[in-house]
């Protein structure tokens, strides 16, 4: 349950899972306590000014200078156990003791993802270019497949009613 509350706070649950988690919050005393504790930690971290002004921008600038990552990468799951780990830390050490370390983890994680999204190898999806039939007609004529299949592939050439790519 704690994992799910943590994920809910991070906006990582889909609609259905989020609905279930919220139902649990409405009914269970323990879940509600967890929710409050996590928010308390979150607030404490958010209000603390441990980082100098412009820290995020400077991290982003430094990352932008890094070599480009070309491999497509999924958006990393942002440490689903963050709040759980912090809660454990609160119990074991003290809230103040954690503040010196934790804000960096939280501040850096979202910034680090931004450049990755800009370098996805997946291309932009665009509608079929104007004159697609002309390209197809010109292309079909040079495809070796004609020798095997005759003109059947030309059916692709001439359709004037091609749909937009489906996504």
């Amino acid at each position: 349950m704690k994992d799910r509350i943590s994920a809910l706070m991070d906006g990582e649950l889909d609609d259905k899972a989020a609905g279930l988690a919220l139902d649990a919050l409405a009914s269970e005393g323990e879940a509600r306590d967890t929710w409050r504790t996590y928010h308390l930690i979150s607030d404490a971290l958010g209000k603390s000014r441990m980082l100098s002004d412009g820290f995020s921008e400077r991290v982003a600038a430094a990352l932008a200078k890094e070599p480009t990552v070309l491999a497509p990468r999924r958006r990393p799951a942002a440490e689903p156990r963050r709040w759980v780990a912090l809660a454990a830390g609160v119990a074991a050490v003290s809230l103040v003791g954690w503040l010196g370390v934790a804000p960096q983890q939280i501040a850096v994680a979202p910034v680090a993802q931004a450049p990755l999204q800009g370098t996805q190898a997946k291309p932009a999806v665009v509608p079929l270019p104007s004159g697609t039939s002309d390209y197809l007609l010109a292309h079909q004529g040079v495809s070796p497949r004609l020798s095997l299949q005759g003109m059947a592939p030309y059916v692709r050439t001439v359709s004037e009613q091609v749909r937009e790519p489906r996504r």
Binding site: L128, T132, H139, V142, S143, P144, L148, M151, S159, R166
Partner: protein
């Protein structure tokens, strides 16, 4: 689980290597090749791709002087294409346009029978399961690609004549991306009249492509795509007489065309990106003040890799 998948892959590899040069399967490809060119036939086939289904009629006439082939699309906007030995004419009755693509033999890189064994460099070719199609007993032949740069094919040939009755293109996940299947086919009894265009085109607009083989100095691929070789270079016109260059790369079965057009003849801004139409991918980008349009019946990654590799190097001045 992972070990299981690995050993399954290893097993598939081992068996495919053993089958890669199945002489019987190669023999069927040769038969399809010959049947397509030598038989007279008339039939109806269904084309399915990306949720689109179209029925077409195809007629092939062969006599001593050569062959003529006619394709009529029965669904939607009426269209008709007639191919003679050196010319393809595409009739669009709604817009009263004929697109004429005349070509020399040198510009037509067909799949020659002697090149069929070379397909085994890029595909594992094996016998597939038998199937009955349009009342005919057919033999399956599977071309399994050796990498993810090309699609796979399941072909079904009539056992009696070798005629290709069904062709299925499948992707790396084994999903069908495109199918052609005859629903009815008759051999013989084709007359010359049956392959004549049905339209009187005296008042129609003619768009001539004027395709001629040409050396395209300066344009090339920085990196060629593994298994794809340049098979021809053409100068041509597209649509309403736009000048264009065309470079064609092929692995022996799949082909990818690179069209190069000077930007100043185009009014539309270039939209960089990928468009998809069933098994066909089209990637557009701008290089050295030219619009590059790459069109191929190949996976998106191949079309994009070729597009990204297009470059212009100014030829050395004397």
């Amino acid at each position: 689980m992972r070990a299981g998948a690995l050993s399954a892959a290893a097993f598939a590899l081992a068996t495919s290597v053993a089958q890669a040069q199945s002489p019987e399967a190669l023999g069927w490809l040769r038969k399809m090749n010959q049947a397509t060119q030598r038989l007279s036939y008339a039939g109806t086939f269904v084309y399915q791709s990306a949720g689109r289904t179209e029925t077409s009629r195809i007629t092939h006439y062969v006599d001593a002087s050569g062959d003529i082939e006619k394709l009529e699309v029965m669904d939607g906007v009426p269209r008709e294409i007639v191919r003679t030995r050196d010319t393809v004419r595409c009739y669009l009755p709604d817009s009263r346009v004929v697109k004429v693509d005349r070509r020399t033999e040198r510009a037509f890189p067909g799949l020659l029978p002697e090149r069929i064994p070379a397909l085994a460099r890029n595909y594992d070719i094996s016998l597939g399961e038998p199937r009955r199609i349009a009342g005919l007993d057919c033999q399956g032949v599977v071309l399994q690609p050796k990498d993810n740069l090309r699609y796979g094919y399941r072909l079904y040939a009539d056992r009696a004549t070798g005629m290709l009755m069904s062709a299925v293109t499948f992707d790396a996940n084994g999903q069908d991306v495109e199918t052609f299947t005859f629903t009815q086919l008759n051999f013989g009894n084709v007359t010359r009249d049956m392959v004549k265009p049905r339209h009187a085109t005296r008042e129609w607009r003619i768009q001539n492509t004027d395709a001629t083989p040409a050396e395209l100095g300066g344009w090339r691929l920085a990196n060629e795509l593994p298994g794809f070789e340049k098979v021809t270079e053409l100068k041509r016109r597209l649509g309403e007489s736009r000048p264009a260059r065309q470079m064609v790369y092929s692995d022996g079965l799949a082909a990818v065309s690179v069209f190069i057009e000077p930007l100043d003849t185009r009014r539309d801004p270039v939209r960089t990106g990928l468009a998809t139409m069933g098994a066909i991918h089209i990637y557009t980008r701008e290089v050295s003040n030219h619009m590059i349009t790459v069109v191929g019946e190949a996976p998106a990654v191949s079309v994009q890799r070729i597009a990204d590799a297009v470059e212009f190097r100014r030829p050395q001045q004397e």
